[in-house]
């Protein structure tokens, strides 16, 4: 079974949602970003999305853009990403790469799959790659047993939802709000409706929610209806504000508590 699905189902068996933390490699530098990922794991993250820096992050809001720009300028590349993957794995969490498509295509799809598997990565989340365009990645992930996580959105039709979820392995990424990454005051009903619609066709596959979660309370709210809670910008904010790995650890602890007090009042 897939590494991602296993860890998320393990959380479910404990009566809670999984906590999935996103951090980009290379902000403020490669070593510090890896230390921050390890701190996220120590604070309670079950999965770390290891972000590949990209010059044109069309789906990201200002917080992630600001951090990623630094990493891009410093020339951070896939070799650094693979090192982060190995570090997260050694820290005891499941690493999954989060990458816009061009860095993977440039590195070579088969080479990426081979090297990611060798580094202990579970697979990849590809925010600007839809299954319709993913033939090379579908076959490379099939060959190497890697997970492949595609996104679904509130605007996805039922037919697209079914087709996209059928191509996913590991979990389904429900992009809860229409918009870019970043903290929001409310997560909104759209997330829960999207999760419900996804569950109708997802079978055993976990459905995790991203975009907009930044606090323990929001994590608890989302954990009430989703299998996993994805947090990105709030983690990156810790680093942008200079709170470093310690800030990341504290945030992880708050969010990890959030995903554990959900089911009751939800």
């Amino acid at each position: 079974m897939s590494a991602l699905q296993t860890v998320i189902e393990g959380a479910r068996a404990e009566g809670r949602a999984a906590l999935i933390a996103y951090l980009p490699v290379g902000y403020p530098d490669v070593d510090t970003s890896i230390a921050a990922m390890v701190a996220a794991v120590e604070g309670g993250a079950d999965v770390v999305e290891v972000g590949v820096p990209y010059s044109d992050p069309g789906m990201d809001g200002p917080v992630i853009q600001e951090a990623v720009e630094v990493a891009v300028s410093a020339g951070v590349g896939m070799t650094d990403v693979l090192r982060a993957v190995a570090a997260v794995s050694a820290a005891g969490a499941v690493p999954v790469v989060m990458s816009y498509w061009n860095p993977i295509e440039r590195y070579g799809v088969d080479r990426f799959a081979d090297d990611l598997a060798a580094a202990g990565g579970a697979g990849a989340i590809t925010p600007d790659l839809i299954p319709d365009e993913a033939a090379a990645w579908l076959s490379a992930s099939e060959r190497t047993g890697l997970d492949r996580v595609f996104l679904v959105a509130p605007s996805s039709t039922d037919a697209r939802l079914a087709a996209t979820i059928a191509s996913c392995r590991g979990f389904v990424y429900a992009a809860s709000t229409m918009g870019v990454t970043g903290s929001r005051a409310t997560v909104g009903d759209a997330a829960e409706r999207l999760v419900d619609r996804s569950r109708e066709v997802s079978g055993d596959l976990p459905v995790c929610v991203g975009l907009g979660v930044s606090t323990g309370d929001q994590a608890a709210e989302v954990a009430g209806f989703a299998d996993g809670v994805i947090v990105g910008s709030a983690y990156v904010r810790q680093l942008l504000d200079g709170r470093g790995a310690d800030g990341v650890r504290v945030l992880s602890e708050e969010l990890a508590a959030g995903v554990r007090r959900a089911r009751v009042g939800a």
């Binding site: 720009e69 896939m78 061009n102 860095p103 590195y107 365009e133 959105a153 605007s155 992009a175 918009g179």
Partner: protein, 463 residues
């Protein structure tokens, strides 16, 4: 004559198309859709509505009426014999897109997309712009059709093209300077996509070129092909033959696709795209995506782009804001790979030399973008010789570029720019202005010298 070739310049047949792209927007290995899932529904809606609209007789009539009564089509083909003396004696015809309302070919596309916006019931349009021509055209169409309009423009470009920023604001559009990344067109596109994914229920993205995710490359081509449809018929009518070569500048590539499309089936007509060579492709400071780039994915489609070993987009460089883009439309990539079109770089200096030459020899101030195509004609004419007939797309007029040109040539009331003048430095001060214009301001050959001319204020007394 096939269905691809309307018999007269005023007949535009949006129902006739090349056999590409396929149903999912692929031009061979290029094109497609590399966007977040959240945008797929909107792109599907656009595709479906557009496919219905383009064969709807009511739309065809309305679009033709706007082209005629609002844009001023058909615009003429102008022969430029004095300019052609610098093109190896080849004859040169210009397709005058610069005479369109708003000053460039961009209006052809936005009128079509604005009609489509109304058809799908959206009330707001957004657009990206580099030189500002597409932004001005979109703001114009929005004003005409009662749509609210937001234009994203790199902060760097708002400075280079201040006149167009003012034009957009006069037309009622909101102009948002983009301060991320390189602060140019590529970053404006990123911001526009972010706006679209957030506001897709009310907002349509009026994309300005033949790049981006499907259906934009095919749709924008269909709206721009009027250039070549008209020009082909006009050249046939006046010359009784087709041109030997058709030349156009290529940034994203919409004016080039617009003039190429009608000629694609004419195997004997060479199609030549001129990319922005900046300081020279060999210097790394250029915007020649095909000549100096590799295939990859940017802004929703696979095509050629400027990228580093990590797949990061490399910032492009060009004196022309409208060509200063590290990508290119997927159809150009496809035409290149199949050998149907050829692409060459033109440096800033070569473009500015051609710019000055056309001003001086023919009394036409071209856009700096279009000057790249003119510089291409100077080279290709030398290669083909005096029997050649060249058709050049003069895609826009140069009013917006007067400040850049003044800095380049050291004109203007403040004298030559200093090193402290950032614009001058950027424009490459100190470069040889070329034979078209020199700093001593020699009069045009054969013209009345200044001391012989009658000053404007005295003219009435002698009349």
């Amino acid at each position: 004559m096939t269905a691809l070739h309307p018999a007269a310049p005023d007949v535009r047949d949006l129902t006739a198309r090349p056999e590409w792209p396929d149903a999912t927007g692929h031009f061979g290995p290029y094109g497609g859709r590399f966007v977040p899932e959240a945008l797929i529904a909107a792109l599907d809606e656009l595709s479906e509505a557009y496919e219905a609209m383009r064969v709807d007789p009511e739309f065809i009539a309305e679009y033709a009426r706007l082209q005629r009564d609002y844009t001023g089509r058909p615009n003429p083909v102008t022969e430029v014999p004095k300019f052609a003396e610098h093109c190896g004696g080849a004859r040169v015809l210009l397709k005058r897109e610069d005479l369109n309302h708003t000053g460039s070919h961009k209006i052809n596309n936005v009128l079509g997309q604005a009609l489509l916006t109304k058809r799908i019931g959206k009330s707001r349009v957004i657009a990206e712009t580099g030189a500002g021509q597409h932004g001005v055209a979109t703001a114009t169409a929005a004003a005409l059709m009662g749509l609210s309009c937001t234009v994203y423009m790199g902060e760097e470009d708002t400075r280079r093209q201040a006149l167009n920023v003012a034009r957009m604001r006069l037309l009622g559009a909101e102009v948002i300077p983009v301060t991320t990344g390189s602060r140019t067109l590529k970053d404006a596109i990123n911001e526009a996509f972010r706006d679209w994914v957030t506001n897709v229920e009310t907002t349509n993205y009026v994309f300005g070129t033949v790049a981006g995710p499907h259906p934009f490359p095919a749709m924008v081509r269909d709206f721009q092909r009027v250039i070549g449809d008209e020009a082909r018929a006009q050249v046939l009518e006046r010359e009784g033959r087709l041109p030997d070569a058709v030349l156009a500048c290529v940034g994203g590539g919409s004016n080039a696709i617009g003039i190429f499309t009608a000629f694609v089936p004419d195997a004997d007509v060479r199609l030549i795209g001129l990319e922005a060579g900046g300081d020279g492709v060999e210097t790394g400071r250029h915007a020649s995506s095909i000549t100096g780039g590799d295939p990859g994915v940017l802004h929703g489609a696979r095509s050629y782009l400027l990228q580093d070993a990590n797949g990061q987009t490399i910032e492009s460089h060009s004196i022309s804001a409208g060509l200063d883009y590290p990508g290119v439309g997927p159809e150009h990539a496809y035409l290149h790979d199949m050998g149907r079109a050829e692409y060459r770089p033109i440096t800033d200096s070569e473009a500015m030399e051609a710019f000055a030459l056309l001003c001086r020899t023919e009394g036409i101030i071209p856009a700096i973008e279009s000057a790249h195509a003119l510089a291409g004609a100077m080279k290709v004419g030398q290669e083909l010789g005096p029997d050649a007939l060249l058709l050049v797309n003069l895609s826009g007029r140069g009013d917006k570029d007067v400040e850049t040109a003044s800095a380049w040539f050291g004109l203007g009331e403040h004298g030559a720019p200093t090193d402290e003048d950032a614009r001058a430095v950027e424009a490459g001060r100190g470069a040889d202005p070329g034979p078209g214009l020199d700093e001593e301001q020699h009069a045009t050959e054969g013209a009345v010298a200044n001391h012989e001319a009658v000053a404007g204020q005295d003219a009435g007394e002698q009349a």
